[in-house]
């Protein structure tokens, strides 16, 4: 049998049901792996006691013959998800010490199915970042390295989730994606990550960044595991008014690998200046793989693509400035020490200056500016109109019969931690150039590992699907995964 920590969710599920392994054994092996992984800084809070108790309960359920797919499966949970009585601080100093008195809907559903929580995973502060470097815990580190041994970013914001899945520190992890925060780190670490249709997963109990864009999704070793985990995370929730009351299909059962006759769009606007030839080549190879599998390839145009990032950097900070107004030092989290005579305004200002890191402060202030009197129409309303046009681009190609769209996942492979230190903020924002359109249009998007670059680092391809058709999208991703045959793993150095 494969080493326990390297099992996929599907193979662990099957072995658990056959009684070949127990969740207690499996969880023990992963707890030990997590303990030995501090150099990766993937886990911000380890919860081995919770994991052991959940594993024992899961073994009882499996024995009783009541075992949903995730029963006994050890997972990592992004720090953005509120987990009852367990630190949940969005990698921010301002939520230092916060212990939620409630459970997010997504984790409630995972635990309902018997999943085991190994701990809370590192991320960019409030999910604002593309390299995990804005985290109050310090950056998570990519288990992949080039020959030079330089420490690389696992991407962000779900960087701890990506590093943990890639380094066999959990069988799967939750992530969230506001502009690419599941798909970019998945691509940087050679794993699979899907952001479902907006409204598929409840946002209740997920610490809010930009509410009209935020979606949770799974990050896993392969497409089958993503299908299994997504089903458990999805479904209508009365506690989130934007959660869709739409039946959740058995996504795994839809993985036939048969994509004959499917129309795959190749958007010409995704050929961006300065993109490495390797990524162009990978994209062409991916196109050929889908054609060989029987899909019909069609060149398409999404004319407003270029305006997606600027629209995003109005809308997301605007929503963040509103959402993050709640961190005021009154109800939860950090409060600054006050000087003699300080009143409530000084308390707000000092608390927020101490509690928020510089990127979060910058985005709150940009959001405040674009929403302020005199600029609301010029920036915020204009960005929302451009968003309408971006969604219309996708609606049109889907109406013309396109089933899915193939693009690169990222404009580069993982870069060095600290490499962007002196770059202006916009340079970092360019990481999301291929992923952010999908959030603005509310569509499902998946990143599938498809090859290695000349440095031996993983590269991903992205497939974008029609709204609510994650099953079909996962099946196309499954066909791509089978054709690409990506099996590389990082060599253990940590």
């Amino acid at each position: 049998m494969t080493e326990l920590t390297k099992l996929t969710i599907a193979s662990a599920r099957d072995a658990l049901r056959k009684g070949e392994i127990s969740s207690v054994e499996l969880t023990g092996a992963l707890n030990a792996a997590v303990d030995g992984s501090d150099k990766l800084n993937a886990y911000a809070h380890k919860t081995p006691e919770i994991a052991e108790a959940q594993a024992r309960a899961a073994d009882e359920r499996i024995k009783a013959g009541d075992a949903p797919d995730l029963c006994g499966i050890p997972l990592g949970i992004k720090d953005l998800f509120c987990t009852e009585n367990t630190p949940s601080q969005a990698a921010s100093r301002i939520l230092d010490g916060f212990r939620p008195p409630y459970e997010s809907t997504v984790t409630t559903q995972l635990f309902r199915d018997g999943a085991v929580m190994l701990g809370k995973l590192n991320m960019d502060e409030f999910a604002m970042g593309s390299s995990n470097e804005t985290s109050a815990y310090g950056a998570a580190v990519n288990p992949w390295q080039a020959d030079d041994g330089v420490a690389l970013t696992p991407g962000g914001s779900s960087g701890g989730s990506a590093a943990a899945v890639a380094a066999d520190l959990c069988l799967g992890a939750t992530g969230t994606d506001t502009g690419g925060s599941i798909r970019q780190p998945a691509a940087f670490t050679g794993i699979t990550g899907i952001k479902p249709t907006y409204g598929r997963c409840s946002r209740f109990g997920i610490i809010a960044f930009a509410s009209s864009l935020d979606q949770a999704g799974p990050m896993t070793r392969d497409v089958r595991d993503a299908a299994i985990m997504l089903r458990a995370m999805s479904g209508h929730d009365p506690k989130d008014s934007t959660s869709a009351d739409i039946a959740v299909p058995d996504f795994e059962a839809m993985l036939t690998g048969d994509i004959r006759g499917k129309v795959i769009g190749i958007p010409r606007e995704y050929h961006v200046d300065g993109m490495p030839t390797e990524i162009e080549t990978l994209w062409t190879r991916g196109t050929e793989m889908l054609r060989d599998a029987g899909a019909l390839i069609r060149d398409i145009s999404l004319p407003h693509t270029k305006y997606a990032l600027p629209a995003y950097y109005v809308i997301a900070p605007a929503e963040a400035s509103s959402n993050l107004a709640r961190y005021d030092g009154v109800r939860f989290g950090h409060r600054a020490k006050l000087a003699q005579g300080d009143g409530i305004t000084e308390m707000y200002e000092k608390t927020r200056a101490e509690g928020f890191g510089s990127e979060v402060q910058r985005r709150i202030m940009v959001g405040t500016y674009v929403l302020s009197a005199g600029f609301y129409d010029a920036y915020y309303n204009r960005a929302r109109k451009v968003r309408t046009l971006i969604k219309r681009d996708f609606d049109q190609v889907f109406a013309e019969g396109v089933d899915a769209i193939l693009t690169p996942a990222t404009p580069s492979s993982a870069f060095g931690l600290g490499a962007m230190k002196d770059a202006d903020p916009v340079q970092m924002y360019l990481n999301d150039v291929f992923t952010v359109t999908v959030n603005l249009a509310g569509l499902p998007g998946i990143s599938v590992p498809a090859g290695l670059d000349h440095k031996g680092l993983p590269l991903g391809l992205q497939l974008i699907g029609r709204p609510w058709e994650e099953g079909d999208l996962l099946n196309t991703a499954y066909a791509l995964e089978q054709a690409a045959g990506f099996v590389s793993k990082p060599a253990k150095w940590w």
Binding site: V330, D342, R362, K385, L389
Partner: protein
């Protein structure tokens, strides 16, 4: 559109984030970089286009107007930096 230190100071104040006087020029310069990037949106013809309010068309669900939650003062106050006698405590609000 260019942001000067006065505007940066005003925005910081509106956002209730204390920014030291000497940090304002750098902040203004960062704002200008980001706003310069956003400026591209002015090229787009948005005449007659509705601003998006929600990405998936859906109606807000209604529920019966009954109490579903409450009576958990202890839980509500459990994470407060300063809670006294069942209340959140804050510094003086009015002179």
């Amino acid at each position: 559109m260019s942001i000067d230190t006065d505007t940066a100071r005003r925005v910081a104040k509106l956002a209730r984030i204390r920014v030291e006087e000497e940090a304002l020029p750098a902040l203004a310069s960062e704002f200008n970089t980001i706003l310069g990037f956003i400026e591209q949106l002015q090229e787009v013809d948005v005449d007659g286009v509705e601003p998006m309010t929600g990405v998936t068309p859906m109606h807000l669900k209604r529920r019966d107007d009954v109490v579903t939650d409450g009576s958990q003062q202890e839980k509500v106050l459990a994470n407060a930096p300063d809670a006294r006698e069942g209340f959140f405590a804050v510094p003086k609000v009015v002179e």
